[in-house]
């Protein structure tokens, strides 16, 4: 079990702006951490520095307090799972799993025992003598995870491991990886641009933009109390409301649903509020609430998405279970628990 600490970790490729810009992050032992962000945000570069495939420009990577930033990848004791699996095509499943142990000069009998244990762990004992090309994508993925784990590494790194699988298999593998990680109890860093993967699998989600950590926290914390509009938007749909201060109630911003308490900026300025589409209740006109008109209906079975427009012209998204058969043009009445509003930090 390894505790990982990144301290002002920076990567600058020759002559460019930093790919990773002074990030600091503590990963408690045994946690599953996702680095989430769009491509080019520095998440993969961070992972490569953790693995030792990229040199650290400045800053520190510490495993249990010991700086490993200059330790070459082959000595760092990390398990790495690649997006395209990177299984050795000329070796059988068994030989792939044994490779790391052979490098460690483990005895033949011990290798046999540990490979067998791994095969059982990833449920592939019946395919031990197959070559990677004879396996399905999901099976190859499990071999790749098994191969990374047989060496009993200090940390496990996964680089978009589910990107090449189809949707159904992807969901299965999410559960498989998460269960396995919990069982083994290994500190895990998972890189993805898929917010659903990050939210469902992680103990800690680290949202990255432009080489910076925008916000790090539990999935629920990231979703419910996003710090910025970018974070709010990346982890789900969101209504952003640019609200002026309410002259009648000091310390409150004026919204279509009434005054919302905010940390007041200067006089005459506005605040940005976030409101998740599922926080809004929609009822037929006549029920007390804020009147609006339905502009678009997107029905998808369990959920229906409405685009609504207020009398002042502003639009809002609402996501709800399909309780009423509203149609485009219907007048409706909206209500919301004012505590669901989040005041966002300004981004400069």
């Amino acid at each position: 079990m390894t505790e990982v600490r990144l301290n002002r970790l920076t990567k600058i490729y020759s002559g460019g702006k930093p790919a990773v810009d002074s990030i600091t992050l503590d990963i408690p032992s045994g946690q599953f951490v996702s680095l989430l962000g769009p491509s080019g945000c520095g998440k993969t570069t961070t992972l490569k520095m953790l693995a030792g495939f990229e040199d650290v420009t400045s800053g520190e990577i510490a495993f249990d307090g010991e700086d490993v930033g200059r330790v070459p990848a082959e000595d760092r004791d990390i398990g790495m799972v690649f997006q395209n699996y990177a299984l050795f095509p000329h070796m059988t499943v068994q030989q792939n799993l044994a490779f790391g142990l052979e490098m460690r000069k483990v005895s033949k009998a011990e290798i046999k025992r540990r490979v067998q244990a791994t095969l059982e762990m990833v449920q592939l004992d019946h395919l031990a003598d197959r070559y990677p090309a004879q396996l399905s994508g999901g099976q190859q993925q499990r071999v790749a995870i098994g191969r990374a784990l047989t060496i009993e590494p200090r940390i496990l790194l996964l680089d978009e491991p589910l990107a090449n699988l189809d949707a159904k298999l992807r969901e299965e593998m999410r559960v498989f990886i998460r269960d396995l990680q919990k069982r083994v109890g290994i500190t895990t860093v998972y890189v993805t641009h898929d917010q659903a993967e990050a939210m469902t699998m992680s103990d800690l989600v680290v949202v990255m933009f432009d080489g910076h950590i925008a916000q790090a926290g539990a999935p629920r914390e990231i979703y419910e109390t996003p710090k910025t509009a970018k974070v709010a938007g990346f982890v789900g749909q969101v209504n952003l409301i640019e609200a002026p201060m309410d002259p009648a109630t000091p310390g409150h911003a004026a919204t279509p649903f009434g005054p919302v308490p905010v940390t007041a900026p200067g006089v005459g300025e506005t605040v940005t509020l976030a409101l998740r589409p599922e926080a809004i209740d929609i009822a037929p006109a006549g029920v007390p609430g804020t009147p609006a008109t339905i502009e678009r209906v997107q029905y998808s079975g369990a959920i229906v998405d409405y685009t609504l427009r207020f009398a002042d012209g502003t639009a809002m998204e609402v996501k709800t279970i399909p309780r009423h058969p509203f149609a485009t043009g219907d007048a409706v009445s909206l209500s919301v628990d004012l505590a669901r509003f989040r005041q966002l930090e300004r981004e400069y």
Partner: protein, 260 residues
């Protein structure tokens, strides 16, 4: 209809191109004194003549020896060049490729003359087989380079990275991962190299030392003064030898490479 015309056309072209080879093979079984086709009676007499002809036997020995040694060095140098070209050449990639393939692009006679001058200028000359070997390595290098580069282009660098994360040091990564995966390209290159070397004429003509005629040179010398079916017998045997090499390599090593 159009397809049939095309098929017949292809068949005609191939027949035209390959017929001379069958004529040579047929002529080698001639019982008569002259190189004629169809053969005047069937006999193996010219094969027996050949096996008693020490000059030809020595030439074949020389050719096989040079082909083997040249291939050995070609495979080593060509593989290293290909690895550099694919992984490390960076913005000089195109220049490296043109340089490696230049023996193919330049007329062989030009390369031969240049090498001849060069070898005498640096004092090595053609008294030993060294110059001849250099020429053969040079001419066969592009074939190894092309074959190995092709298999390296299909090589996923993540394989090396995966091996690295599992604790493999650079030489182990090369030996256990890259080498087995580019081996098909190296074997293909070696086969080409061997067959090409066996066939090189101009370079051998200019760079051979006294008494080290390769088979094509010896055959040429022979045909200048003789016109017996023995030449056809020698040609047939060298065709058979070439095919045998290809088949043996395919059987011994080739089967392994199709396993994945």
């Amino acid at each position: 209809m159009g397809r049939n015309v095309l098929n017949i056309y292809c068949l005609a072209v191939y027949t035209f191109l390959l017929a001379p080879i069958f004529v040579v093979v047929g002529a080698s079984f001639n019982a008569g004194e002259f190189l004629t086709f169809p053969p005047q009676g069937l006999s193996l007499r010219w094969y027996f003549t050949f096996f008693e002809n020490e000059v030809f036997l020595r030439a074949i020995g020389t050719s096989l020896w040079i082909a083997a040694v040249a291939t050995f060095f070609s495979v080593i140098i060509g593989t290293m060049a290909a690895i550099h070209y694919v992984n490390f050449a960076g913005r000089y990639k195109e220049a490296v490729r043109v340089a490696a393939l230049s023996p193919l692009l330049l007329p062989e006679i030009l390369t031969a003359i240049a090498l001849l001058f060069f070898l005498y200028d640096i004092g090595i000359g053609t008294t030993t087989m060294f110059g001849l070997l250099v020429g053969h390595v040079l001419m066969t290098l592009p074939f190894v380079f092309m074959n190995v580069s092709a298999s390296l282009e299909a090589y996923d660098t993540d394989w090396s990275m995966a091996a690295r994360s599992l604790g493999a040091r650079p030489f182990t990564r090369f030996r256990r991962i890259m080498l087995p995966l580019i081996k098909p390209g190296m074997i293909g290159g070696a086969l080409f190299s061997f067959v090409i070397s066996f066939d090189i004429f101009t370079i051998s003509l200019l760079l051979k030392s006294i008494g080290t005629a390769t088979l094509p040179i010896q055959l040429f010398d022979y045909l200048k003064t003789n016109y017996t079916p023995e030449a056809a017998a020698v040609s047939t045997l060298s065709i058979v030898a070439t095919i045998t090499v290809v088949v043996i390599v395919e059987k011994v090593i080739g089967l392994k490479m199709h396993k994945f």
